[in-house]
């Protein structure tokens, strides 16, 4: 299962970098430059990505053309937003350097920092 997850990332990486639609065979050929991998495996994982809504596909002759539904930036922004913002991480999944705080608290932080710098400066 973990290997499939890694392959998902590799396939998305290709399609995002190319910025165009591609067949599973094209992706397989590119992956084969690094290591041997079966066409059927790539096809299976591409279909998983399609069912997850990350790829669209259309018939091109006899082969399927796969295309990323959003850009890498859009995907990153959406998923990172979910992971880092909104509800404060209830289960402590990630340990953040500093939690999200309100604008008033940020103001208080800046004031305290400025005051300390003035003290040490004078």
């Amino acid at each position: 299962m973990r290997q499939l997850g890694g392959l998902e990332a590799e396939i998305m990486d290709r399609l995002w970098s190319w910025g165009r639609a591609a067949t599973a065979r094209e992706v397989r050929d590119d992956l084969n430059k690094q290591r041997p991998i079966a066409y059927s495996t790539v096809k299976t994982v591409a279909d998983i990505l399609f069912s997850k809504g990350m790829l669209t596909r259309e018939k091109d002759g006899r082969a399927w053309l796969y295309r990323a539904t959003c850009t890498r930036q859009q995907y990153t922004a959406a998923r990172m937003h979910d992971a880092l913002e909104g509800t404060p991480d209830p289960a402590g999944v990630l340990l953040s350097f500093v939690e999200q705080i309100s604008a008033e608290e940020v103001h208080a932080l800046r004031t305290a920092l400025r005051a300390a710098k003035r003290r040490s400066g004078s």
Partner: protein
């Protein structure tokens, strides 16, 4: 009945009185590791005392005082052993023992559940990082192209530190290294496990002042502990400014609910040198944290 009352009083003290005093005390902020230990000792004391109180409530005057078996039986599930010698245990006896056992099993159950849930979420996040992150070897971190500044670690197996592009943009090299050292302290100290314990206990006993305070205070004290480690290698100014910059970049559009004054407390603490508590104080806290959970057991056994 007296023992049940005494144990219940002890549980009440640990669960609803001492937590308020400990949350207000100054020394945990000066030595966060001691503070975390004290909260854990208090939590364990509450569980032990509550289990004993329930036990004595359902099994009054059934003490057996004969040697080691008697000692064991007076202290917990050993009762079943000694009773088996005297007379065959009935289903009712087993059912009675279940009640005090529940007090212990409840937090353990939540611990398993919370651990499983957290593990699954961490895997999901690791999958996300595999897709959108790039490894930066010069810092030993994963970089994500995301405009909001954030520095965090994904603990557990395959742990790693993550920095967003936004954080790289607002932090200087020295500030970034200070923030990274803070995250490294979380990983090296296995802070996620301590957070997990506190979280599971809070879920098992919702509404209990100790549970609520222990979870919040443990989280804050662990942040302070990580700050202290970062300060061993980096300047106060670098860490404080990094904290300020990352927090400022993360301000949400809508005001957040009571997130607590954690960031400000930490900033003030970073900016002013902390004197460690006296060694005697430290030793006292360690002894008290270990003795407090054992004390009710001893009292019951001697009785």
């Amino acid at each position: 009945m007296i023992m049940a009352g005494a144990a219940a009083g002890y549980a009440l003290l640990a669960g609803a009185a001492v937590p308020y005093a400990l949350a207000r005390a100054g020394w945990p902020h000066r030595s966060p590791a001691l503070g975390v230990l004290a909260w854990q000792g208090l939590t364990l004391s509450f569980i032990v005392a509550t289990a004993l109180a329930v036990y004595h409530l359902v099994l009054t005057d059934r003490h057996v005082h004969d040697g080691l078996v008697g000692l064991l039986s007076a202290c917990g599930p050993g009762q079943a052993v000694s009773k088996a010698v005297a007379s065959p245990p009935t289903v009712a006896d087993a059912a009675l023992l279940l009640m005090p056992a529940t007090v212990v099993l409840l937090p353990l159950g939540w611990l398993a559940r919370t651990a499983w849930h957290t593990r699954r979420e961490r895997r999901r996040h690791a999958d996300l990082l595999a897709m959108v992150g790039t490894d930066a070897d010069d810092y030993g971190v994963t970089i994500v192209e995301y405009t909001v500044p954030a520095v965090y670690c994904l603990p557990g197996r395959g742990c790693r530190i993550v920095v967003t592009r936004g954080a790289l943009d607002v932090l200087t090299d020295e500030q970034l290294r200070a923030a990274l050292e803070h995250e490294r302290a979380h990983i090296l100290g296995r802070h996620h496990l301590l957070r997990l314990f506190a979280r599971a206990f809070a879920r098992a006993f919702p509404g209990l002042p100790l549970a609520r305070l222990a979870e919040a205070q443990t989280a804050l004290l662990l942040e302070m502990n990580a700050d202290d480690r970062a300060l061993r290698f980096h300047s106060r100014d670098a860490l404080a400014t990094a904290l300020c910059e990352v927090a400022a970049g993360r301000v949400p559009a809508a005001t957040l609910g009571a997130s607590g004054p954690g960031a400000l407390i930490r900033l003030r603490r970073i900016l002013s040198p902390q004197t460690k508590p006296h060694r005697a104080t430290g030793l006292g806290v360690v002894i008290a944290s270990i003795a407090a959970p054992i004390l009710p057991l001893l009292l019951v056994c001697v009785h």
